[in-house]
Amino acid sequence: MIISVELKNFRNFAYARAELDERVNIVFGPNGYGKSNFLEALYVCGFGRSFRGSGQQIVRFDADFARVVAKNPQHETLEAVFLPNGAKNFILNSKRLPRLRDLLGKFPTIYVGPDEVNIVAGSPSKRRNFLDFTISQYDPVYVSELGAYVKSVAQRNSALRGVAEGEIAGGMVLIETIDEQVAHHGAQVLATRNRFLRMISPLATEIFAAISGIERRLDIEYLSTAADNPDDPELERVYFERLCARRKSDLKTFQTAIGPHRDDIEIYLGNLPAKKFASWGQVRMISLALHLAAARILEEKIGRTPTVLFDDALAELDPQRAHSVLEIAPQFGQIVVATPHPEHLIEDAKIFRLAEAGKIVEEK
């Protein structure tokens, strides 16, 4: 939860300050005035980076730096500073955080943007991001294992190329060692993701019923490219053997074709794959239910109320649906909604209006 936030030279905001409501906040204004930028500033406090590509400039045109200062109910003040050259710095209670990962879990955040609201049917990388971004906020071991996994795969790909081009002395033996390492870390990542899905499925089923009125079970299955059964007690060994079997073909592409970086999840609604059989509206409600369930898991694991950002994610829903989502959502976190038309959303929310580009005004 964020109780107050201050922006300086952040995108189109020269200066802005807002005291947020602990339940529901609605930020509205015409497109291009900076609604998403405001949500981005809140997002940055959770993850230390933007939800937009890194190429775009966070620092306001011609300014020397951009700064976001946020306070949470735990009496922590986070200062995030961005320089035009891409450098950034995070200071928590006047102490510089040595690594970005030290920020995770301090301001737990769930982001639901246009891609996330379509997570059921969208690209597999979005579904992997959903797992990684949620789990990383409460499980530091997962952060280490995922980091070690990514590095090991990069080493493996280099070793494949080195061996194929005859540039690494003793390379074949080295690949076998790296395969063990990839399987070791990859199996941890896979098992943790699988445990998370086990946790989130019943929660998501309940929330989906509450916001859609449909009483059908949501089941989420982990589809691993590295093992047929993610519950296998011999997971690391099975994974290693499959990796070894892939070696010959991977030596042609210099790519590691299996593992958590290629895995996916399948979401079933009442035993049918939602991707194929759920309606357009159901797909959106399932996505929202998944994100709210993720917020509940964060709260249980960290003991802090997460901030849930709906970035234009409710705009496509019919007013009645959007209303019922917002009635239920505050049970799962502090809600911040960016929308072009606030009229029919909810009564007891704090309203912020973008009066002009880069200028935010509290309405009531």
């Binding site: 990069a154 280099s158 002395a169």
Partner: protein, 213 residues
Amino acid sequence: MGEFPKIHNTDEIPGEAPQVIENAINVFKQLPGIGDRTARRIIYWLLGQPGEKLEEFISALEELKNSVKICSVCFNVSITDPCHICANPERDHSVICVVAEPQDIAAIESTRIYDGVYHVLGGLLDAMRGIGPEDLHIAELVQRAAQPEVKEIILALDPSNEGETTARHIAKLLKDVDVKVTILAQGISAGTALEFADPRTLSAALTNRTELK
């Protein structure tokens, strides 16, 4: 219009330092952690020193070149071969501590709790930089480990991805050798080079080393 005397040597670009100075700067830039600006500062500082001072530097380097050898047993740098550690009968030759670089030996020696001998690999396995097993002194280590008097191999490598690969690789090669293989306990924070770990953390990690095999 007056006549201007020619002040530039024709080989040199006006505004740049003479070529000899640029050459020296380029040599210093090769030192670890030294960039262009620092190299430049060092060279100009040296130029400001009296001649004896420069002689001191030159003879120190020359002495390094002429007297420092690589130990044929452990690949440590030393003025004798075998090095003073390998040649010391007081040290426990049944325990070999494996490190990546000679400077890691200094870090472990500073803990004063280790009295075994060492083995310097000369780096870590790193496919991204093209460093494979045959580029390091791994085969020599396996040979040493197979000697009957050797009881334990301690892997004291950086807690990095490359350190992990190297440790796994050595453990695998020693699978059928009758020797205990241990690894430094975690406690050294990930990303800290062994060379820079403080002695207290390092001695705790050394005492609590865990068995790898």
